[in-house]
């Protein structure tokens, strides 16, 4: 099952890291599509983001390399005393030097780190903004469940439509009982809808 060349060997052993990112990304994607709760959607978005950040950071890894900060022997400000294995300390004293390609291999790729640093910061900013919008939606509608939200928005639309239809009828001076009927219908509609759902708390 795990011999060379099979798909399972490719995915689960040689490229396990990519497999994990794909799974994380799918969890996030599924949460964003299928969950009805807006906060759960945001959690899905964060998981999605984490998968991409992990993917980028893993691209910057090089086997046997160190973090992208110069070691004492390449430090542009030279003059370092570093204790070595033998009891004497080795001393580096030099100015900045251009590293050749064999030394470049000793440092991890700094570019993905920089890109992901900015991505994390933007992620925090967007998450904060999204949470603020969720709070505002909760204040206005009393719910952050998507289906309940849609029902409430529809009922509001019906109410505003019946109001706008009444205006031309008023100009023609229709019979009074007809107007009353219309009004009582729209009122009863909104009443039944608002009675079935918990009252929005943040409403003015």
């Amino acid at each position: 099952m795990f011999e060379d060349g099979t798909i399972i060997n490719e995915l689960l052993i040689e490229r396990l890291n990519y497999f994990i990112y794909v799974v994380l990304l799918l969890i996030g994607l599924h949460a964003m599509i299928a969950k009805k709760n807006l906060i759960k959607k945001l959690i899905g978005m964060s998981i999605f983001q984490t998968a991409i950040i992990l993917f980028y950071v893993s691209i910057g890894v090089k086997e046997g390399s160190t973090i992208p900060v110069y070691l004492p022997e390449h430090d542009p400000h030279g003059s370092h005393s570093v204790p070595s294995d033998t009891n004497e300390t080795s001393h580096f004293d030099h100015g900045p030097v251009i590293l050749d390609s064999s030394l470049v291999k000793g440092y991890a790729n700094p570019l993905p780190h920089v890109l992901m640093l900015t991505a994390i910061v933007v992620g925090v900013a967007t998450l904060g903004l999204a949470l603020a919008l969720c709070q505002r939606i909760y204040q206005g509608y009393g719910t952050i469940e998507e289906d309940e939200l849609l029902a409430k928005m529809e009922s509001r639309e019906i109410r505003s439509k019946t109001l706008s239809v009444q205006i031309p009828k008023d100009q023609k001076l229709p019979k009074k009982d007809e107007l009353k009927k219309e009004k009582s219908r729209s009122v009863s509609k909104s009443k039944t809808l608002s009675a079935s759902k918990p009252k929005p708390k943040g409403k003015k």
Binding site: Y70, L99, K105, V122, K201
Partner: protein
């Protein structure tokens, strides 16, 4: 509906796993991203160009300075947007909800935080100031600084934290950070270089062109740190109280 949502998820999953076959193996030094001339140039020449030992900071604040500047602007705009969305919205009066309880700040918690906060803030300054030499920088230092104020708000209450860091300061500090960043960029432009070409600052400061870039990066990071500190605290203060700024979590 729920089953229908699995279709795009599965399609994306299969496509990504199929693509993963052609990606470089873990830690391979021959990966296209690591072999690209751009990243090799950053690793080889950062020391000569800027004398900054931390390549990440050098790329962030110098080579890609324009990107980072608008990054900071994005953070600032997000903070202002949260302020605009939540200010004067919802409950004006304080109606107590069923899950809200009155509690005195806990003695053990507040005394521990009293000891912790100065240490956190000094560490934030350390991370900010040593951003060139060791891992760290403006974003990290700013987040630590903002976290120290959030800790005060969590252990006492939001009012106590707001006395120490009023909310209108956050707008001013956030703007000041961006002003500092853009100001350094504009100054180097007026001295004859391009926007954010810090080496021109050597004309007015008694340092070499490389060290001018080194020190300008510190200035830029301080600007980033100010903005991030202010916006982190402002985000917490607004989100935890629905913009009322009273009786937070």
């Amino acid at each position: 509906m729920k089953l229908l949502s699995y279709i795009p998820v599965l399609v994306v999953g299969v496509l990504l796993l199929y693509a993963a076959k052609d990606f470089p193996e873990w830690g391979s030094p021959d990966a296209p991203a690591s072999k690209s001339p751009v990243s090799s140039h950053f690793i080889a020449n950062t020391g000569v160009d800027t004398e900054v030992p931390n390549m990440v900071t050098a790329v962030l604040a110098d080579y890609r300075g324009f990107d980072t500047m608008f990054e900071t602007v994005v953070v600032f705009i997000a903070g202002m947007a949260v302020l605009a969305i939540l200010k004067n919205s919802g409950r004006k009066k304080l109606v107590k909800r069923e899950f809200e309880v009155d509690a005195e700040p806990d003695l053990i918690v507040t005394n521990t935080v009293r000891l912790l906060v100065p240490v956190i803030q000094i560490f934030a300054f350390y991370v900010l100031a040593h951003g060139h030499v060791s891992p760290g920088g403006g974003f990290q230092g700013g987040v630590l600084m903002g976290a120290s104020f959030i800790l005060v708000a969590l252990s006492w209450d939001l009012e106590t934290a707001l006395i120490r860091f009023p909310l209108n300061w956050t707008t001013i500090l956030g703007g000041l950070g961006i002003f500092l960043y853009a100001g350094i960029g504009l100054l180097s432009m007026f001295l004859g270089g391009e926007f954010l070409d810090y080496s021109e600052l050597a004309n007015i400061f008694p340092v070499s062109r490389e060290m001018a870039r080194y020190h300008a990066m510190l200035g830029v990071e301080i600007g980033v740190g100010l903005t991030v500190t202010a916006i982190m605290f402002s985000l917490y203060a607004n989100l935890s109280t629905e913009g009322r700024l009273q009786r937070g979590l």
